[in-house]
């Protein structure tokens, strides 16, 4: 692990990266896939994966390469968008049954979801920058969020927080800013594309 970190550090220091692996992380149902789809739709015209109201819809890391985004002043970023499964500390198959899945489907989904969490954590060693997607309608002071942000800091991976779902009345971006005062927080609605121009601006700042 320390060798990998050292290599990443020297990579950043001496090599101008052509492609940037942008990890999209967060707890389940924050809108990670919706954001990944929004980015891919905006710049490639096609989606990356399917989003759902049932938690743990994304149970494998999925990615889209050659997503080239452009800033207002003509700069470009060549991204590999890496959409990761939601990180959680508990997975109860009965929650999926309550959402309408059969017991068999729910158990399979829970099994796959546990593997997905492990895969997402392993992928932290492979990404160059991270967007942490939080649901702006929920309390951000959660151990999973703290663990994700702590790991990014410890690994010295550049990251910012996206406070998603600002189209909903209950959303509260200020609460997220107050919870994580040292991190850049951008409020967006990935579903409707609200504030995406600010998001891309912040992304250029983060990576450059």
């Amino acid at each position: 692990m320390p060798i990998k970190r050292l290599l990443r550090f020297f990579n950043r220091l001496f090599k101008k990266k052509k492609q940037v692996k942008l990890g999209i992380y967060g707890p389940p149902n924050g809108g990670k896939t919706t954001l990944a789809n929004r980015i891919c739709l905006d710049w490639l015209g096609e989606e990356l994966g399917s989003a759902s109201h049932i938690p743990h819809e994304t149970r494998r890391v999925q990615m889209k390469e050659r997503v080239v985004i452009q800033s207002g002043d003509g700069k470009t970023l060549d991204l590999t968008v890496v959409d990761t499964p939601g990180i959680a500390t508990k997975i109860d198959y009965e929650d999926f049954v309550k959402k309408g899945l059969s017991k068999k489907e729910a158990r399979a989904r829970a099994r796959e979801a546990t593997r997905g969490v492990i895969e997402a954590i392993k992928w932290l060693d492979n990404v160059d920058a991270v967007i942490v997607v939080l649901d702006a309608t929920k309390n951000p002071v959660d151990q999973v969020n703290v663990t994700i942000l702590g790991n990014l800091e410890a690994r010295k991976i550049p990251f910012m927080i996206v406070a998603n779902k600002i189209d909903l009345k209950k959303s509260n971006v200020t609460r997220i800013r107050e919870a994580f005062p040292n991190t850049k927080v951008i409020g967006i609605s990935a579903k409707y594309g609200h504030n995406m121009d600010k998001f891309y601006e912040a992304l250029f700042e983060l990576i450059n």
Binding site: M1, I87, A88, T89, K90, I91, D92, Y93, R107, A110, T114, R115, V117, I118, I121, L124, V141, Q143, V144, V146, T147, G150, N151, E153, A154
Partner: protein, 121 residues
């Protein structure tokens, strides 16, 4: 009457064998570790949790509480205490604090304020 066991596991013991934590959690105990965990240790706990999840064990609720002198004592101006604490951290590689872990079957939510941890069963 419902009985809940609170099991104390020293940090060093947990580091040597993390499965001990899960043995206790599966017995229905709430585990207290005498240190704040590093982010890497927290992600290791999550990974191990996912490996342990099955039809009976649904996962964990975890929270850490920082009781470092920086927050509680620095305002008192005890410069020497701060130095001693920094040295302790360098030598032991540990942060002062506690970690509390409960099985998700038992603990529904842990809420944290700067002064207390609230466990909802």
């Amino acid at each position: 009457m419902k009985k809940i066991s609170i099991k104390f596991i020293p940090y060093e013991k947990m580091k040597k064998n993390m499965e001990l934590v899960f043995d206790e959690l599966k017995r229905g105990s709430i585990v207290i570790i005498d240190s704040k965990l590093s982010p890497e240790e927290e992600s290791e706990i999550i990974t191990k949790t996912m490996e342990n999840v099955d039809l009976k064990f649904k996962g964990i609720e975890i929270s850490t509480m920082d009781v470092s002198v920086d927050r509680n004592e620095s305002s008192g101006g005890k410069f020497t205490t701060l130095i001693v604490e920094k040295l302790r951290r360098i030598l032991t590689g540990r942060e002062r604090g506690i970690t509390i872990i409960g099985s998700a079957n038992l603990v529904k939510k842990i809420e944290k304020t700067p002064e207390e941890l609230l466990l909802y069963m």
